[in-house]
Amino acid sequence: MPQNKITLTAKAGYPAVGEMRMNMKKEKATPSCAEAGILDNALVMIAVLDKKGTVTLWNRTAETVTGYPREEVVGNDGIWKLFYPDKEYRDSVTKKITSILATKKSIENVETTLRSRSGTPRTILWNTKKSSEHGETRIIAVGLDITELRKAELFRESVIENANILIAVLEKGTVIVWNKAAETITGYSQGEVIGKRDVWKWLYPDTAYRQTLTRQITEIIAKNRYFDDFVTEIVTKSGKKKIISWNTRQIGTGEAGQDIAIGLDVTARKEAEDALVSYMTEMAMRLKGPVEVIRDNLSDMSHLLREKKLDPDDIVVLLNGQVRNADKVALNVQEFQQAIAEKHQEIPEAYRKFLAGE
């Protein structure tokens, strides 16, 4: 086989879109005028090849997408090499098409990335159809430019993959998307989760808790078809407990419907809130309680004095005690103020970050 040919001949000698000889001579099979008009104005790339693979028609969209005018393509035997200049890639395309044509008579939805005249890559989805007219066989290759679609998909996948929140997409309960954050948060890899429905049992191993959540979710979904900020406690693969705030949305409806579940790991925030509450409670207890102690002791002293049960030395000791207590309360207040104002080290780290908005 000559080096400069991509010969993708089907087993039974069937000339497919792959049978595109680079050394093609002038076209033999040509479409009718009406046919040519329709093909020429189609919004998809259309190339018509004769049985030897010579391009006999190259429509406007093909010109627009590839940048190559029909004058350069029709009858030109070098176009496929220009589209696929990388030999390794070209060989892989050839191999793929050969493999398909070994069992089928046409190509369906084969995706290739060609290089346009300007050098920009275009992703094309190819389909071919065999047609015979006046005893002449020709191949109609239809190429749909999905470059922008693929870019959008890649962008979406990139956003999903790199988001720092858990994203799972479910189809009839089966996980079809499980992003990196989901792996990090839960410890379960994509390989363990995708294509299965078991992950929820792993994340909620306690049957009673899982049933409670299922009931709550069912109730919410029945009313709203989605839920926002639904907080649950999951158990990760390593056995660690984490608090997740869930939001869900449905994409599409009916059989084709998918559910997207977005989970924000709020464990640290919850811990910070708990630490804050704990700290405030402790400080309240250590301020309110002692003041009450002093009040009650002074009240007791008053009673004892009235009952003449205290001598001057006793009074001195008791009063000194209350002075000391009051001093300590003042120190506690000072400590509290300092802690708030200067983010004193006695405030838990999580709370300091919380205050700093980190």
Binding site: T281, M285, N297, D300, L304, V316, G321, R324, K328
Partner: protein, 183 residues
């Protein structure tokens, strides 16, 4: 008036947390010591609130035999500067935050009365909060209750009702056998 601490429960060496209204704590202290004395207990009073001299006077006026009571006093030294221990009667700790000193003093006092039927009274957890974070108090009460159980000794801890936050209260409840609301 019914006993604050039931004799049969004391006999089984139980440990109690008594919650009293702030205005009733002093009276509650005296009543418990009187009940303990009636049941033949030698009381070890750990006080962080009223000093030994005053408690001694109040107990005496309450008809309590002072031979059946000894004290670990964490108040007097900080109030008047110095005070000397009286073996078997009173041991002073320099301040209520000195938990190590308090632990040693209690241990020594229990040794001094090892042949007697002992019950300790801790007055009060609420006052300790003036000086220490709740975590330290919780650890100390845990230490003391463990020691009491190991030595097979009954104990009573006094606290002002509503003066303790739920977290500390939950911890204290796990250390004691029974919580009594003395009103």
């Amino acid at each position: 008036m019914p006993d604050i601490v039931r004799p049969e429960e004391l006999e089984t060496k139980q440990i109690f947390l008594i919650l009293a209204s702030p205005g009733n704590i002093r009276e509650c202290n005296i009543r418990i010591i009187r009940e303990l004395a009636t049941q033949g207990y030698h009381s070890v009073v750990i006080t962080t609130n009223f000093p030994y001299n005053i408690l001694k006077k109040l107990y005496g006026e309450g008809g309590i035999d002072l031979n059946g009571v000894c004290f670990v006093d964490a108040v007097t030294q900080t109030s008047i500067g110095s005070a000397n221990n009286i073996p078997g009667v009173v041991r002073y700790v320099n301040n209520p935050a000195n938990l190590t000193g308090m632990g040693i003093a209690v241990t020594e006092m229990l040794k001094e009365h090892k042949d007697e039927k002992i019950c300790i009274l801790f007055d009060s957890i609420s006052t300790m909060l003036v000086y220490l974070p709740s975590a330290d108090i919780s650890k100390f009460i845990h230490f003391v209750t463990n020691k009491l159980r190991l030595m097979d000794i009954s104990g009573v801890f006094l606290a002002a009702e509503k003066g303790i936050d739920p977290m500390l209260m939950n911890q204290l409840i796990t250390f004691v056998d029974k919580v009594v609301d003395a009103g």
